[in-house]
């Protein structure tokens, strides 16, 4: 199909002008924006941006949460043939300088005062930033910096221009071609500067369609847009697929109201990284523990039943008459109300991706009747590479290749992908492009994995992270750090884990406890604590974590390939790993190398056989100030198991 995003918008506006395109909760009420309203807004916005001097082929920045006017801005930029570059709203000014310099941005549209302040800070180093427009004028009345203006003014000026030049917008949209660059996404990158991933209209639209076909998405879907629009996942779900399928995107009132808004909207198509699902389950578990004994027992009984038969039922297998009846009763008493409480009453398709999901967590949602599935993809592949069919969802695989995708496993175990949705390249970075996109058309994912006997893709770790144990009793054994970390993270009491072991004789881990879960656990045991650091170092907490570590070791022992990755020593960190301190990426992945350098004394102590180690760490607060946290950490040993040979 020869088309661009603005052309899709105009098609919707012509064919179904009054149908809702977006809803935004404002003043406590969901305000609907029809496709016609949307098209008008985009027209005015485009005319306004044109007058502000936005040129064809030029990049512009969009920063903010999911707001209809910011989505309209992206469409307006694309209408003019310009390229919107969404940035993460929680990135600090210093992180924005590189992308903006790299893309030679002169113009940006941002959400509110917080973002304006950030852009003004960016402008101190990157002086070429000429125009800053803001959506929400709150607190900005007294700003008189040059080049600062409101989106309202921009729209008003655009409306006047559109009236004088009634054909301008349509002509501009018609000039757009499907192979034009549509958007650029900066990948957070675990090392070095971020890279701008360039996508055309055709790559994004093709993948959006492939995903929509796979799950039979229609214009009747409701989606809640609550993840950062700078992340390609959210962009696909609430922008590309929105325009392709023509469904309704709902923008929550604020980050704090997402759970309330989710309940009110009851989306039919839902996407969240595993941590969000995990957070929901944690809050359910905590609340159930506080419930009356009747409710608690009912919940326990029916959850046991659900765990046994729920997943089978979802996969369309027969579960017998008695179980069917009991499940029906459970649905009435527990599962239904629970789904409703989570906002999943109407969910037809729910996806999770980005990180491995724990089997218990995955099963929980499927067993209560939420069609939770996994998918595999990245910014470079415009998300959709593999998807799980409705009745074949597994916790440890990521699905089958979807339409147009070819998959090949290289000799070193790396997964190679060929798809119509592959990136055009990294912006101004041909070396990096050549590294991942070889001349024969294969994209190198840098993920290690394999296709299992059912044709489902299974991911183990990043290729470069898969290491070898050196020396000791497990010499030469394979070490997959992320695999170990994820296994540990699946325990509700553990929030984050960093594992070391490559080129060393044993595996050691540093653990972050989950403050909510462990705090609650401690309160139930009348265990007093003064705060995070204190709680983390309690001997009882170490015992709790030890059980988790040894459970993982027992599991790993059963896997011949990874038995050598068992954890010998561990410690619990005194502070939460944080993206603001550079320990996590903006998408919350651990930066192993950076952490090893920053906590060098701890790593040395782990391998040096010490039982305690003092550490002082500088922390960065949200407002940019710094402070320091210090503590003497305990280091503990864990039991490892002899590899279990698979029975013949």
């Amino acid at each position: 199909m020869q088309t661009t995003f603005p052309q899709l918008l105009l098609a919707h506006a012509t064919q179904r002008p009054t149908a809702p395109a977006m809803r935004e909760k404002e003043y406590g009420i969901w305000q609907t924006i029809s496709w016609q309203d949307m098209a008008t807004m985009v027209t005015h916005m485009a005319c306004g941006l044109h007058q502000a001097g936005l040129k064809r082929g030029e990049h512009m920045i969009v920063v903010g949460s999911n707001r209809p006017r910011l989505y309209a801005t992206m469409l307006a930029a694309q209408s003019l043939g310009a390229i919107p570059v969404p940035l993460y709203q929680d990135a600090v000014a210093a992180e924005c300088v590189f992308p903006m310099t790299n893309a030679e941005v002169r113009l940006c549209v941002v959400e509110d005062q917080e973002q304006v302040d950030k852009m003004l800070e960016v402008r101190e180093t990157y002086t070429a930033l000429a125009h800053i427009y803001y959506d929400d004028p709150r607190g900005l009345r007294k700003y008189d910096e040059p080049g600062l203006g409101s989106v309202d003014e921009l729209l008003a000026a655009g409306a006047v221009f559109a009236k004088q030049h009634p054909n301008f917008f349509k002509e501009q949209v018609d000039m757009g071609k499907q192979d034009d660059v549509a958007a650029m996404f900066f990948t957070s990158g675990t090392t070095g500067n971020p890279k701008g991933v360039v996508h055309t209209h055709s790559t994004l639209i093709d993948r959006a369609q492939a995903g929509a076909e796979f799950d039979h998405l229609t214009s009747n879907e409701d989606v809640l847009a609550y993840l950062p629009p700078a992340w390609i996942g959210q962009n696909i779900f609430s922008y590309a697929q929105w325009l392709v399928a023509g469904y309704v995107v709902n923008c929550p009132e604020s980050a704090a109201t997402v759970t309330i808004d989710l309940k009110e909207i009851g989306p039919t198509y839902y996407f969240a990284p595993p941590r969000v699902f995990e957070g929901m389950l944690t809050s359910v578990s905590i609340r159930m523990e506080d419930a009356s004994s009747l409710k608690r027992n009912m919940y326990k009984y029916f959850m046991r039943l659900a765990k046994k038969v729920g997943p089978k039922r979802m996969d369309g297998e027969s579960i017998g008459l008695f179980n069917s009846l009991m499940y029906g009763l459970g649905n009435l008493l527990v599962y239904g109300p629970l789904r409703n409480n989570l906002g999943f009453s109407r969910v037809r398709v729910a996806y999770t991706a980005g990180e491995a999901i724990g089997p218990d967590l995955f099963t929980f949602y499927r067993s209560i009747g939420v069609n939770l599935k996994q998918l595999y993809g990245s910014t470079e592949t415009a998300v959709f590479v593999c998807l799980q069919p409705d009745n074949q969802a597994r916790a440890d695989t990521v699905g089958v290749p979807c339409r147009g995708v070819e998959i090949k496993v290289a000799d070193n175990g790396e997964i190679l992908v060929k798809s119509p949705g592959l990136l055009k390249g990294y912006y101004k970075n041909p070396e990096a492009t050549a590294e991942v996109l070889t001349a024969d058309g294969w994209y190198h994912t840098s993920d290690a994995g394999f296709l299992d006997s059912h044709g489902h893709l299974k991911i183990i770790d990043r290729v470069k992270d898969v290491g070898r144990i050196k020396g000791g009793s497990n010499d030469g054994a394979m070490f997959a750090p992320k695999y170990v970390e994820n296994k540990l993270k699946f325990f509700p009491h553990i929030k984050e884990v960093v594992a070391y072991g490559d080129q060393r004789e044993k595996v050691c881990v540093m653990i972050n406890i989950d403050f909510d879960a462990v705090g609650n656990w401690a309160e139930r045991r009348n265990l007093p604590y003064a705060g995070y650091t204190d709680l983390a170092q309690k001997p009882e907490v170490y015992e709790l974590i030890k059980e988790c570590v040894e459970q993982v070791n027992a599991d790993l022992a059963e896997d011949e390939l990874l038995a050598g990755s068992q954890v010998s020593r561990y410690l619990v960190l005194h502070k939460e790993l944080d993206a603001d301190d550079g320990e996590l990426t903006r998408t919350n992945k651990v930066r192993r190398g950076f952490i090893a350098e920053k906590y060098q004394p701890l790593v040395d102590a782990l391998y040096g056989g010490l039982t305690t180690q003092f550490i002082e760490t500088v922390v960065k607060f949200e407002d940019g100030r710094t402070g320091s946290v210090s503590a003497t950490l305990q280091i503990s040993d864990a039991k490892t198991f002899a590899p279990v040979k698979a029975a013949a």
């Binding site: 404002e26 003043y27 406590g28 009420i29 009345r141 007294k142 604020s254 109201t257 309330i260």
Partner: protein
């Protein structure tokens, strides 16, 4: 970034207040100009809250007069004060704990509703339309104070800092010209204080409210107020800009003590 400070809106002249033999306030005079943030400070028991209560009409001073927008009174009546556009918040939160955030803020609109109790209870006549209109204003305040997530939460369940915000919201719902804040930051942590400061500055700036506040946190007072009155044992010992007050000998000795 300069703001426009107007004429005197509230003028307090020679106020004295006694409870039996206890002199709470003795001959206090000061004025408040339109659009300014005026702080009243002083050690415990200095008479700060009593001063607000006189302005507010809760206490009737034995001597002195209060002039509000050119009208002079020898004592104020709380309802009359509210109708003239003076709202206040309380040191010890006087919210309806069992009611939701929305309902609490709605009570601040009560004075502006024309329908009577019966009409409101039965939702007849203009009552429903009126409620919708007022609810709109309440929603704007909720948006302004960023408490959207707690709209329907009973106030008693909210943390203290948020309850303070609701208290401010209720006062704002009256669309006051003058806002009296009695220790808006008492008992808050640093972050909550920063938020509250921002709200106070925004109220002053965006709603054009004149603000009279009592506060103990000197950092806050010196940062946000335009002029400061200092009371000690019911007497005025200082009045001026934060800078002037900071260098006032009497104020320093009242706060830090002197060697006798």
């Amino acid at each position: 970034m300069t703001k426009h400070i107007g004429d005197v809106i509230l003028d307090v002249q020679n106020i004295s207040l006694r409870f039996g033999g206890v002199k709470a306030l003795t001959d206090i005079s000061f004025n408040v100009q339109e659009h300014e943030i005026r702080a009243i400070i002083g050690p415990n028991g200095a008479g700060k809250s009593s001063m607000l209560n006189c302005i507010n009409g809760v206490y009737t001073p034995q001597e002195g007069s209060i002039t509000f927008r050119g009208q002079t009174f020898d004592h104020m009546n709380s309802r009359q004060v509210a109708e003239m556009g003076v709202a206040r918040t309380f040191q010890n939160l006087a919210l309806f704990k069992g009611m939701s955030v929305i309902d609490n803020i709605m009570t601040g609109r009560n004075l502006r509703m024309k329908s009577n109790l019966l009409m409101q209870a039965l939702r007849i006549g203009p009552a429903e339309n009126e409620e919708i209109k007022h609810r709109e204003r309440v929603e704007e305040i909720i948006d302004f104070l960023e408490i959207q997530a707690y709209r329907k939460t009973p106030v008693g369940q909210l943390p203290y800092g948020l309850q303070k915000r609701v208290d401010l919201g209720r006062a704002l719902a009256m669309e006051p010209q003058v806002l009296l804040l009695d220790e808006p930051m008492a008992g808050m942590n640093v972050e909550e204080k920063q938020d509250m400061c921002r709200f106070i500055l925004d109220v002053n700036d965006e709603f054009g409210c004149t603000i009279v506040l009592i506060e103990h946190d000197m950092g806050v007072v010196m940062d946000i107020s335009d002029r400061v009155v200092v009371l000690d044992y019911g007497k005025k010992i200082g009045d001026g800009t934060p800078e002037e007050v900071r260098n006032n000998e009497e104020v320093i000795s009242a706060y830090l003590g002197t060697s006798h």
